[in-house]
Symmetry: C5
């Protein structure tokens, strides 16, 4: 990742992500009875408004700074907005400007080692336009496109504010699915906890880290939705507010669930620690019992293995059985001590 | 559970629960001096209003999407409400719409492995109508029906808002009972803590998980009640507000109690860990004492068991008693060291 | 405890406590220059107002449902208030009704096993009347009665709102005393922590549970006082507000103190755990030293105790001293290793 | 400490501290160009106002109840204020009365065992008068007196509200110094953590308790300052508000610092625990290695030390070297197992 | 560090830092088309305003009290402001005075042992003037100077409020970079956790302390930015508010990240502890197995090494093989017990 220089001027466009593919995308013009798709690659298509149509521009990649500047000029974006667009390390947030709304979302993607990472979505809602910046093309948008291509779908009947809602809803649905997966991973892990050699410790740590990432992002999502619901934004129509309330609900429920997963991970870890301690106890009790019984006996045997010339017991008729009886007595005594201590 | 597709259109009716029985239920029309019960199965009865009567429709099952759509049309429900009704994974909540109130409740049911799970109740309060969706028929509703069938009961004298209160109260009472059970389970467990072999660890983890589930739901219940008490909802009459304040009190008290149970579980776990550590200490002290005394003695015996030709002590007249005395001295010295260290 | 049935009608009077004695009590009429005491048992005395007098009715027992209903009729109590009165498991709270104030307090009593439990006080403040319901007669009220019987006491000079304050103050004073006791119990326990065999673990757990109970109740008391101070209740005169501010202060200070006790308990527990670990370390170091020195020596002795016909060392002139020297060397080497590892 | 009786009348003056010296003090009348000091002992001096002067009465001791009553009468103090003055267990707080302000402060004194305890300062700000009650005479007031005796000092130029500020500032400065000391004590302790025998556990517990005491008091100080800054108190002039903002800053910073010390203590404790565990591991690995190698070897030696008549190996020409070789092989095998397990 | 005397007069200028170099600095006058730099050392340059220009005075060192007093007189600073300027232990804060804004910032510097410490920046925003006090000259300001020297930069086009923003932004960027470093240090450490001998415990403790320092400062930064955004400060123009909102975002994001690092450190520590416990278990299981098998065998060998005259087994034809077989049986039995216990 290119590090942005400390102290660089605000609005300095330096791409700080890791993508380098050619930027492409698609421009959608739609109304209830019409949908026109204009794919593009390398350079932007003409950005003219079509009367009575909602225009949705999807851009796959934020590293083409020239393109971002061109869009910034077209939609009169503030330099700080453009800076945030190309800097995919923002927190989810919503910012109201005079003519447009700027929203940053993060969705979850699994990296190659299976951990959850986040990718940034930048959203501009401006009159009849919705501009969506992705870091790269993603399957995650597919369901939305399917709904868009279906004539008479709610999406087609309503304006760009509903489209923004649909995108936020998509993101929240995806978090919900991820939390579900997390929860299933945990249940799988819990079954192996009884077996200390399976050592799922590393996996539990991974789960903890993933749950943290998800929770942190859901908290930002909650703030974002709260901001939408509390402020009366002119670009969002009254009927659409209900939808944002719904997505807010889902986000809260998802937050609830991920916190529940976190608590369960902690419970599982504590349980595991107790298991290890218990097992150590058991092992040590066994060693103690074996040692405590046989070490004294061996000592007694050692006594009568000494080679002193004058050891009267050695010449006794019943010396050997007597020694064996002594040993038996000693071991019974120790076993009784164990019983009394409840170690057996 | 059928997973709802990520990114599906809001208002898409996809049942995500696990029930598949035929949907039945009952329609109640009542006023102080009258009660008419109209059971139904498979399809809805006529939903006409009876003058001066409160109408209560109970539906056992939310998986009959056609029926839900029919009710949605009859009561002009928002698509998002219908989506939540058939999707029994909502958080408890209350939503105010222009003509009706939508409430989601969860009650606790024990699954076959004895853990607490939640089942969703969907409630529509609309003019003289109260529509209640359950996932399946449940005994839990019985006490309410008994009160309804009693002429002159408070329930019969009052309108649908009071019925809603009665349902919320029923749910809270049920949480209270569950917390009571939890608390008793914990007390039973605490008695076994002194015995590490009883190993109640697994049960304690189950208790922790149950307490979490209950607490999470009670928190949502608290938010729900707060919303009812703070907002002046036209569908809820002033006299009924007092009742909601009462049920709010009970929810708070129940929350208090479940938090108390959680703290007690944690105290019990800590106590248990200390117990294990103490016991390990005791066991190891015993092994150390046995080992420390007898290993050196065995060594001395080993010396005089060596077969060197030139070992003058072996020929001494009192070699054997001298060796025994030496051993006695060594063991007394070690015992004194233990005494000084307070290990004995 | 009789369990109240789940889903029973609100206002259903079912006593859920454990008392069964005959209900008695006393009715006090007082003004600055007069005090009339009317004890009663089994049935209520006449509840007529005496001009210019404050009337205080103390009832010992809430299980006589007929009596509670009679009082409910006399003071026009809401069914929910009567339900709470006979149900001694409420949280401390204050409820404002049109004509009266309803307050629930809890005070602490030690049960036979020495743990803190709470008993409920129900308070009705209605015009010139104060009605106090106790679960049973209690010495704790004595100081208040002494003040009441003293002519010219502040209590006698002021109205029923001041009496309510005096009761709340009495309860808070009692919490304060209990926290003091808790704190002393902890100090006594702390002195035994250095001695692991004294095993004060069980007592520490008891202290934790008691501190939790007290803290939970003090938090409810804080809410109660806040409610009195924030709302301008007509039944409470302006001059009396200052007194409630004072009792609020005391409750806050007491809460501070009980939290301090809780933190100290936790510190003590951690200290204790470290102590156990340290002691285990010491014990194991000793065993390791004894074992590491004498096990190899015993092995060497074992070698020369073997009975092979061809063992040249056995026939050496100085074989025995040589073997002893070898053993000395080995043990010195191991001791040096220990020194280097700082285990000695 | 005399315990105040539970349920005693509010405003009952019972001294609950431990002081018993004769109460003395000093009365200061000052303005920019004048300072008159009137020391007193046993009984109060005349409390007349001097025109244009600020009057500061310092009383060393709150156990002379007659004197407190005399002052209460002179300044028309509320009985609850007088009660708090003689009861040195209050939380820091500020109370506004019609004619005066009542402030309770606590400063820190080290008791004979080196722990931090608090002593109460009671402050009355009344017209031109500031009355300060200390539990006993204290050097801590010296810097303030020095400034007072310096002509033209800010203190001399300004009124009694500034004097109150100066006293609060003095107290906060003293907390800051104490936190500094705490922080230094911790750094000294941290250096000994690597040496488990130094056993600084007890000292860490003392630090924890001291940090708690300081934090609890600083939180009350924060509330107190917030109250002064939020409410527009007539007795505090506008120019003096700035000074209270400054002292509030210092209190917040100090709180920050003490919380940082608390976190560091916890980190240190965790570190220490890990150290102990690591050391136990090391010790046990050594014992395990010694035991695992020499116990089997001793067994082999034991075999050939048996006295069976028929043991062909004993008569072999190279029996002894063969046995030694077997032992070497066994020990090499075990060492290799250790290496593979990374225990070496 | 010179300690400021407890109870010293507010506004007393006592430098409490550790710097002693000669104070120098630079005075910048700039507008879009002009930049004049006036370096100075030892004494201040003339502080005249240049029409239409922003004046920025950077002072390297706050220990020259005469110079601070001179500036205090020139800009009519409150004594408390001057006190805070020379006392570099303030919390980050913003204070509004009638004519100027006073801001305290802290930035992070690594001390010689590699830990993060903070250095104070004092900022006065007064009409066209911005005065910046550093504890010493620093490279960290370089990027800002580069932007200042670039004609037509945003910095040159805008007034002193934008300069203040630029400085705050610089500080936040620097925190962000430090958190990034922290996060990388943690990842490096995590790789060594599997190897208990690498003992990264000390480094983890250092990381914890650094994360705490950063978090504490970022929290103060958050409060500071909140204060700027909430209050409508006349000295900050409306267009500049947007920039402060941006820097606030960055601070929040950075706080998010440092909290994430803290949680990960805790997870890592827990993981490490579990690792140590697991390893101890494994070691002890091995010792227990070796001991449990060979100690009984050695005892049997010891029996037949006794020198009793009457030991019939010794004379048996197959005594030796029988004894060996007995030993084999015993060890197989013990191994089977281990298997059953799942210790193998
Ligand atoms: Mg920047
Ligand atoms: Mg930005
Ligand atoms: Mg990972
Ligand atoms: Mg959704
Ligand atoms: Mg990771
Ligand atoms: Mg992130
Ligand atoms: Mg959806
Ligand atoms: Mg929904
Ligand atoms: Mg379960
Ligand atoms: Mg109820
Ligand atoms: Mg489970
Ligand atoms: Mg749930
Ligand atoms: Mg442990
Ligand atoms: Mg009920
Ligand atoms: Mg109730
Ligand atoms: Mg108990
Ligand atoms: Mg009191
Ligand atoms: Mg108990
Ligand atoms: Mg309770
Ligand atoms: Mg009192
Ligand atoms: Mg008081
Ligand atoms: Mg100060
Ligand atoms: Mg102490
Ligand atoms: Mg102490
Ligand atoms: Mg205190
Ligand atoms: Mg000062
Ligand atoms: Mg200051
Ligand atoms: Mg360091
Ligand atoms: Mg700092
Ligand atoms: Mg920045
Ligand atoms: Mg450090």
């Amino acid at each position: 990742m290119d590090e942005k220089e400390v102290g660089s001027s605000p609005g300095t466009l330096v791409y700080t992500g890791t993508m380098s593919h050619e930027v492409d995308g698609c421009l959608y013009h739609y109304r209830e009875d019409m949908l026109r798709e204009t794919p593009f690659a390398g350079s932007l298509p003409a950005l003219d408004a079509v009367p009575d149509c909602t225009a949705w521009l999807v851009v796959h990649g934020v590293h083409d700074l020239a393109m971002v500047k061109q869009l910034g000029a077209r939609f009169q974006l503030h330099p700080l907005v453009m800076e945030d667009l190309v800097n995919p390390v923002q927190r989810m947030k919503i910012e109201e400007y005079d003519d447009y709304l700027f929203i940053v979302l993060k969705w979850l993607v699994r990296n190659e080692s299976g951990d959850w990472e986040t990718e940034q979505l930048g959203l501009i809602l401006h009159d009849q336009w919705c501009v969506l910046f992705l870091e790269e093309a993603s399957d995650l948008l597919e369901p939305l496109l399917r709904r868009l291509r279906k004539k008479n779908s709610a999406l087609r009947k309503r304006g760009p504010d509903y489209l923004v809602y649909a995108i936020v809803d998509l993101v929240v649905d995806h978090y919900m699915e991820s939390v579900e997966e997390l929860s299933e991973d945990l249940e799988t892990l819990e079954d192996t906890l009884m077996d200390p050699d399976a050592a799922p410790l590393d996996d539990l740590k991974e789960l903890q880290n993933s749950a943290q990432t998800i929770k942190r992002n859901l908290r930002a999502m909650k703030d974002l939705n709260n901001a939408i619901l509390r402020v009366d934004l002119p670009v969002i129509q009254d009927g659409t507010q209900l939808y944002f309330r719904d997505v807010h609900d889902h986000a809260l429920q998802c937050l609830d669930q991920v916190e529940s997963v976190q608590e369960s991970i902690n419970n599982a870890l504590n349980f595991y620690h107790s298991m290890i301690s218990l097992r150590l106890n058991e092992v040590m009790k066994f060693l103690t019992m074996m040692g405590s019984i046989f070490i004294p006996l061996t000592f007694i045997a050692g006594i009568y293995g000494m080679n002193f010339q004058e050891m009267p017991e050695l010449k006794w008729r019943y010396g050997y059985p007597a020694a064996m009886a002594l040993m038996a007595l000693v071991s019974i005594g120790i076993l009784m001590y164990f019983k009394r201590k409840k170690w057996l």
